[in-house]
Symmetry: C2
Subunit: 121 residues, 2 copies
DNA sequence: GCGGTACTTTACCTTTCAGTTATTTAACAG
DNA sequence: CTGTTAAATAACTGAAAGGTAAAGTACCGC
């Protein structure tokens, strides 16, 4: 039951795989907000928003407070750090493609005449 | 039809929200591999792996080649760059908590006497 | 062509997900 | 206590996800 890193990433990525939930996080980056406030930009019922908040809460991306009849939500970015760290491992691969693109552009510009090119790898 | 950034992020985060698929990407970071090779570590049928590969391909995270009867997959990290950039916006929020922790530790250690501190925010 | 290897596709099943409306709980204002 | 506002919960629906077994496709070696 001890929620492994893998399970945490599952929930975090799962929570982020929805535009409404990402937009809610975007709003919360500006400060905490009530459910009504969070719902305003969306053509969605309140229970719908409530459900999204529960998903975000389960992923640890938000925490809920209490202010009289309001239950404000606030951003908890811890899981996003895990996402950033997971992603970081692949940085070389997307930077690499720019390197290859640069090479290719060099080739086009100047000495463009190596061979017919059978396979990329 | 023009696949917006939002839709691309949906598919990317969605694809990453599964441990099998993340493990496949991890394997592909070491170089391209056939479906059999990719399937080996998992207790899952070949069609299962095939489906996961299709999800990854739709998200643009892998590309498929052809080498005789094999259809090797290779990593395409472009979408991960988008993830890194999306996440970056929230960096201040997870670093912020460490700052507060640092402050707290400073307070405990040495000059613990700024003010009474009524509310955490 | 035939048999084997490496997949992909199809058809199906079960579980989860995103959304709804209707009902219930909680906190306040008179 | 009554009514109103804020939100959560329940019950339901349709669609998508994740898995399987079985059939189909593509390529190779002989």
């Amino acid at each position: 039951m001890s929620t492994t890193t893998e399970e945490r990433l599952d929930r975090t990525f799962g929570a982020l795989a929805d535009p409404t939930r990402r937009a809610i996080l975007g709003r919360l980056a500006e400060g905490e907000a009530s459910v009504m406030e969070l719902a305003k930009p969306f053509a969605m019922s309140l229970p719908g928003i409530s459900k999204h908040l529960k998903v975000l809460e389960r992923a640890g991306l938000i925490a809920r407070g209490r202010d009289r009849q309001w239950r404000p939500a606030r951003l908890e970015a811890g899981p996003l750090k895990d996402v950033a760290e997971w992603t970081e491992r692949y940085r070389q691969f997307w930077e690499e493609s720019y390197e290859r693109l640069d090479e290719y552009l060099d080739e086009l510009q100047g000495r463009g005449k190596e061979q017919g090119d059978g396979s990329k790898r």
